[in-house]
């Protein structure tokens, strides 16, 4: 593999790693604060799954790293512009309905993306996708179930979910927006076909919103930037918190 294609492959893997890590980090903020004990435990399970998946992706990104950076150095010591997660996952939790809506949109996309990646020509990627998709399958069923129930619950719960959808939908376009790196990885048989993912994502999410009695807003221009390192304001604070130990005590064992 040429140095450039190894770097590109690593960038692609880092996008997967960062998505799982950042949304896992956001979910873990709920630990001890969720609306019911059963929910607290369930949300922590999803966070544990996603951070576990992130660790697998980071381990692979570390193998591909020409500077020999470790899993933790990659996860916890890069500058903000070097994080390649989509904007959706870094959005602040808001209320529990907002968190669930963010999760629902993410889970459905994540599932179809991983489904594509199980067929990756890269054996490590397909193996990690294979392992992750079993967990994500459950994430989808859990978040869909809750969205449908809350959408058809009380007037208040319906209102909160519709508001969350209005706030978050603008970040959905980036999920399936292909750029040069996606195209290159697809051509090599390594990456997922985002146009196929988009079709399945749109069909499933439209069905979900319909069942939940919710309506996705019409958005003239979808927000983008996370995949290339241009993030929202809240990302800096998330990283400041997540990186504080590695930044203030570099090069130590914990």
């Amino acid at each position: 593999m040429s140095a450039q294609s190894q770097k590109n492959l690593q960038q692609y893997v880092l996008r997967l790693a960062d998505n799982a890590l950042i949304i896992g980090q956001r979910l873990s903020e709920w630990c001890g604060h969720a609306p019911a004990l059963e929910e607290d435990i369930a949300t922590a399970n999803t966070a544990l799954d996603l951070i576990g998946q992130a660790r697998n992706w980071f381990a692979y990104a570390s193998e591909l790293d020409t500077d020999g950076r470790s899993e933790d150095q990659l996860a916890l010591l890069r500058d903000e512009r070097d994080y390649l997660n989509v904007l959706l996952v870094e959005q602040p939790n808001g209320d529990y309905g907002n968190t669930l809506m963010r999760q629902f949109i993410f889970d459905i996309w994540h599932f179809y993306l991983l489904e594509g990646l199980t067929r990756s020509a890269d054996a490590t990627i397909s193996a990690i996708a294979e392992k992750s998709i079993k967990e994500v399958n459950y994430h989808v069923s859990r978040s869909s179930d809750l969205i449908i129930r809350l959408g058809n619950g009380t007037e208040e719960s319906h209102g909160k979910l519709q508001e969350a959808l209005n706030n978050l939908w603008r970040y959905s376009g980036e999920l399936t927006l292909s750029d040069a790196l996606d195209d290159e990885m697809l051509a090599l048989g390594i990456g997922a076909d985002l146009s196929g993912v988009e079709r399945k994502f749109q069909a499933a999410i439209t069905r979900g919103f319909h069942e939940a009695s919710l309506v996705a807003p019409k958005i003239g221009y979808m927000q983008r930037g996370g995949k290339t390192g241009v993030h929202s304001e809240s990302m800096g604070r998330l990283l400041a918190e997540m990186q504080v130990m590695q930044r203030s005590h570099p090069n130590l064992t914990w």
């Binding site: 630990c31 399970n45 009380t154 590695q246």
Partner: protein, 330 residues
């Protein structure tokens, strides 16, 4: 301990002659190690005391999520982050098991929650102390979970079936909690000067609150005597505290850390350590609500409960709608 201020009701232990037939039969079962189950007859005092004890225990698990939860988002490595998250999640699970055990006695989880949030119910004093550095995650696992285990292991054999079964599950799951804490301390103690200092600082701040977890001396308490007779308490507070000191001091020595007690000295005669006087004024102040973090801890639980009300309500309303639909379809 996790239920450190449980006042048993009643006026002391009755003699066999003072007991009526139900009470004698009940005491015989306990003395023969036959578990009491939810539907069995039990003295009102036993029921009341257990409700208090189990719910205090449950509240401690729930509030106990907060000091450690404080560091999940800041854990120094991804592995430490997952371990800590799994551990704090376990605490929620343990609270859940314990609430369910208490519910078998005829009190709902919402009632218990209300008692916690109104400040009427107590929880362990230890969780009102702040977690200031990463080393506090080590100190809590090592010292706080270490102390809790000493109390919880014998509770697996207590007389009330649902409580005992919850404790079996909890002890099984908790077995990794103390070890991960010690492991954090061990890595710090072998690390840089700054890491060692962080570990020592954590031990300095957590040592005395950990000893207070066992509660005030209860050697002469009539309440304890009744709880012993009912087999819902198996060791005196002082006995467990001594055991904890004897077990923990050599571990601190292994780590190369100093226990912050100038009176600490091995006593050959009693085959244990003598240790300094505990500041009980501090303990009672913390229990009464004047610890460093009481307001934050209770405030966080109140916020979670109030902010979550719409969510809990909506799911009930939705379930009712679904049930009605199903019925209409039949």
């Amino acid at each position: 301990m996790y239920a450190q201020m449980v006042k048993a009701t009643g006026k002391g232990v009755k003699t066999r002659e003072q007991m009526d037939e139900n009470e004698r039969h009940f005491q015989d079962r306990i003395d023969n190690d036959i578990k009491i189950e939810a539907k069995d007859w039990m003295p009102e005092g036993y029921r009341k005391t257990l409700k208090r004890q189990i719910s205090q225990h449950a509240h401690s698990e729930i509030v106990g999520q907060l000091p450690e939860g404080n560091w999940i988002t800041r854990a120094p490595t991804l592995e430490r982050k997952t371990i800590l998250l799994a551990k704090v999640q376990d605490e929620a699970g343990h609270g859940l098991y314990l609430y369910c055990a208490a519910e078998t006695l005829g009190i709902s989880r919402d009632e218990m929650t209300e008692q916690l949030l109104s400040g009427k119910a107590k929880y362990s004093s230890i969780f009102n102390y702040p977690t200031l550095t990463w080393a506090d995650m080590g100190a809590i696992g090592w010292l706080v979970d270490g102390a809790a285990i000493m109390n919880q292991v014998p509770l697996q054999y207590c007389s009330y079936g649902p409580y005992a079964r919850a404790m079996v599950r909890i002890c099984k799951e908790e077995s990794f909690h103390q070890r991960q804490g010690f492991d954090i301390m061990n890595v710090l103690a072998k690390g840089s000067e700054a890491q060692k200092a962080m570990a020592q600082d954590a031990l300095n701040r957590w040592w005395w609150p950990a000893l207070m977890m066992f509660g005030p001396s209860d050697a002469d308490s009539v309440h304890s005597a009744q709880s012993f007779a009912w087999n819902i308490k198996q060791n005196s507070n002082d006995e467990l505290r001594q055991k904890f000191v004897d077990q923990t001091v050599p571990q601190a020595e292994f780590l190369g850390l100093n226990v912050p007690d100038s009176d600490l000295k091995w006593n050959d005669k009693k085959n244990g350590y003598d240790f300094g006087a505990i500041n009980w004024d501090e303990f009672f102040a913390v229990i009464a609500g004047d610890g460093p973090c009481n307001k934050e801890r209770l405030g966080a639980r109140q916020k979670a409960w109030n902010d979550g009300a719409w969510f809990r309500e909506a799911l009930i309303v939705n379930a009712e709608k679904r049930a009605a639909c199903k019925q209409a379809a039949e």
